[in-house]
Assembly symmetry: C2
Homo-oligomer: 237 residues x 2
DNA sequence: TTCTGCCTCGCCATTTATGGGGAGGGTGAA
DNA sequence: TTCACCCTCCCCATAAATGGCGAGGCAGAA
């Protein structure tokens, strides 16, 4: 087991260009001896990237049909933090069933396992494993590899992040304590008047903080500023 | 190594009550033979919980001094997704130095390693390891255990999540596609008019979506709704 | 079938936020 | 010391959001 993990990690360590992700998924697929491996991530700017072994037919169709908006795997993983066996997801809707059938028709295996990963600044990534197998076989596969795959997924994500944000921590524009406090209260739903009262200052002063924070964050309005502050991890609601 | 990991996991598996986290951190500390182990998490409602081996003196002082608002460890981890050696953090500010000195005075070791974990619904957790050691010793400790600790952290978080959200996926109030789209555009800084134009509907219709989403999210105003939707992972900006 | 939820649109009045302008005192860094 | 940044307060006019009223059509679930 430990030996295998080493093999997996070697494949990932070799990724040194953006295109390398593709090769890494192929390498991982061959090592695991399964049908498909796909790594998919959304960076801090909301751009989506994918690298994997799905046929280009399927990728094209996926994009064309805008499956991103209803894929139960994506949707399910967005709501959880634990890896998920596709069988556990909600495939009950008509659209989901049609999607699954369409996927099978394009060479996607009937079993899947996905590890969701989250980072700061809204980074969100998925490592998808896909195979044709019975439920039992797939369960055995998962219980054998789940630990290793967790590590693998993290290493993948580390690589992705190193391309995405070379500085690792760009930390964005720091807000002053009062600005942070003000934005936090606003994010909690208080009106400016309430927030000012809460902070024991005049509403005008509070306004100055919000405006100042807004400018630092490059936001068009207060709501945008709150969204950015949240996404950047500058505040916690 | 594999044996040790089994030991670690056994400690965590035994957690069956809320209070069990405390014992688990003690168990983990003893197995790793270090000074402190602390698990800290913020649940979906923004409540904070901690379990660990820090002295109650230090915990009290930490809360009393409101160190939460400036702790470089917390702040640093909020910005990254990779585990972090405390030495890499920014301790340059006066407040940070004072905090560090205060921590040492309360029995906190000079070296630390923290694994940040994120989940859906704004869940955010930290597994802190702390010890008295030289930089070299600590580096060796980290490189020896980092893989295992990643797994351990995930198992911890899985437990925490099972207490936090017994249903595993409460998924919150689902927004309709149009509501999601509307909230997303608003979160990106568009005004209602702009967002409506973007979606090709009347401003009034867009307002209905926002209002509807606001009610579903239990938010007091649009900004609050955006903050909640973001925290719940219902939208990505 | 009935009912619920979703999508679409309109008007009204009121509250709230925004975008400018100004001012003074504090603290820490160069 | 000077400069920059932070904290605090005020006024004014306009733009925008909110709350509540109404309406119809269309789909899927009970």
């Amino acid at each position: 087991m430990a030996t295998e993990l080493q093999d997996f990690l070697e494949v990932i360590q070799q990724v040194d260009t953006f295109e390398g992700f593709q090769e890494a998924t192929v390498g991982l697929r061959d090592l695991l001896n399964i049908t498909h491996v796909v790594y998919h991530w959304v960076n801090s700017v909301g751009e989506r990237f994918g690298a994997g072994t799905y046929s280009s037919d399927w990728v094209d169709r996926y994009l064309e049909k805008d499956y991103l908006r209803m894929d139960p795997v994506l949707f399910g993983c967005f709501q959880r933090f634990t890896p998920v066996n596709w069988k556990q997801l909600d495939w009950s809707s008509k659209a989901a069933k049609a999607f699954f059938r369409d996927a099978l028709d394009h060479g996607v295996g009937n079993q899947g396992y996905t590890i969701p990963l989250r980072g700061p600044n809204g980074q969100f990534a998925l490592l998808n494993l896909n195979h044709n197998a019975t439920d039992d076989q797939w369960e055995r596969f998962i219980s054998r590899y789940e630990r290793d795959l967790m590590i693998v997924a993290h290493e993948f994500n580390k690589k992705a992040l190193s391309f995405d944000a070379p500085g690792e921590v760009q930390s964005g524009p720091a807000l002053s304590p009062r600005e942070t406090a003000a934005i936090t209260l606003i994010a909690r739903g208080l009106s400016r008047g309430q927030a000012a009262a809460e902070m024991g200052i005049s509403e005008h002063t509070l306004r100055v903080y919000i405006e100042s924070a807004r400018h630092k964050l490059g936001a068009m309005n207060t709501t945008h500023a709150v969204a950015r502050a949240l996404s950047l991890g500058l505040i916690i609601v």
